[in-house]
Symmetry: C2
Subunit: 250 residues, 2 copies
């Protein structure tokens, strides 16, 4: 499925994901959000709250993809080191952003805008802010990197705010066919259809349930007609094997 | 939290994760599984079903960590390319493994062990098998890399099978304190306790709910006494601010 769609990588920053304490859901949300804009998520990484690891991952990802989205590490506590790491990765200075500082200051009662909270206004030089309708403290964009909060409800608000800045691509169309048959029975047919339609991608995802094994076949591509042709060919092949295909709603 | 515990990386292989179709849960499961053995998961990556991407990620990860765990791409269909990619990464040949071939052949009725299913017995030279009590088709270990299925129920069975091969480390002890207070209020105290106890890691994870905002403070370390001391210091600090700490069961 080669094309000139915008591409993206996700960089999840946080010890709590790697320790297993927290199940990351942001990557899946970002993947779906970008898919709806025609942007392909090509890679995801999770790194710990260690500056050198964040810098290395960011500098590996940002030249490779149209966009990089990071989540986590922009709060007020000592373990929130993402803004500094991003400044280091871009080799720029970091300081209080007047607009972010003013917005945060206005949020707190007099005397409660302490040093820790002021940290959330520290933004790398040259970055623009990403709005946060949930808890005010902004994310930021520097070049092709979007730095967002890790708390899902805040990250989602930031995605809404930054979406208009993204270049959109042609949507990927999907056709999903479920079959109550082991994938080993249908593998040769899937391979044949794939070899005849190289511009689409056919994925085969088996499941095992109490009532038996089966498979979801997912056809993906940017040409709706070709996706439909490939989907129909697969359905024909299944019927020829005596397997009733069930088209899922996508 | 520097120590000589075994380390690990996770490599999730699969277009379905990056497209957003499937929420990865294997990384979280592996993180918890390894934590129970005293092994630290240090990094996770998700790459698409593209051989060059799998090879590059594997060769970046395997020299850096004690172990690498991969999930996905070892089934019978054309999009299952992990075994070949691993052979390429290690620059070894790949062929039918007699034991895997025999086990798979015995599983199917005469005439149904077709070419696609035989593919699941293709194992890189020098690898040892990982048992699969769910669907027979094995995973494999080559050097410090463990190659597992992507279907969660199968991956979990494979983890059980391979666990005895892993070197264990000292368990990380955790103390979790919940406070119904914004983290900006307690940040300075957390930073102070962290600076006094560099062998433990203090994480601060805010939440936003209908009944207000709050924070989970997680203290992690391999010395149970120091974790308890740091946890108690944090509880003292919270009480001094008029915030009642609630110790979570870990």
């Amino acid at each position: 499925m080669s094309d000139d769609a915008p591409t993206a990588a996700m960089l999840v920053i946080g010890d709590e994901i790697l320790s297993g304490r927290t199940q990351d859901t942001n990557t899946n949300y970002v993947a779906r959000f970008l898919a709806a804009l025609g942007i392909d998520l090509k890679e995801a990484r999770v790194v710990p709250d260690v500056e050198a690891e964040i810098v290395a991952a960011l500098n590996a990802l940002r030249p490779r993809y149209s966009y990089v989205f990071t989540t986590g590490g922009i709060g007020p506590t000592h373990d929130d080191i993402t803004a500094d790491a991003v400044a280091r990765a871009f080799d720029v200075s970091i300081g209080y952003h007047p607009e972010a500082f003013a917005a945060l200051e206005a949020r707190f009662p007099p005397g409660e805008f302490n040093e820790a909270r002021q940290r959330m206004a520290r933004i790398p030089a040259g970055a623009t802010l990403i709005g946060n309708s949930v808890s005010v403290a902004p994310g930021f964009q520097i070049e092709n990197v979007f730095v967002m909060a890790g708390v899902p409800v805040v990250m989602r608000a930031m995605l809404e705010d930054l979406a208009p800045r993204l270049k959109r691509g042609t949507l990927v169309r999907t056709c999903t066919i479920m079959a109550k048959a082991p994938e080993g029975r249908i593998a040769a047919d899937l391979a044949r259809v794939q070899s005849q339609h190289k511009a689409i991608a056919i994925g085969s995802y088996p499941y095992y349930r109490e009532d038996g094994a089966g498979v979801y076949v997912v056809v993906r591509g940017r040409d709706p007609a070709e996706v439909e042709v490939a989907g129909s060919l697969i359905e024909q092949s299944l019927r020829a094997l005596g397997i009733e295909p069930m088209r899922e709603k996508d």
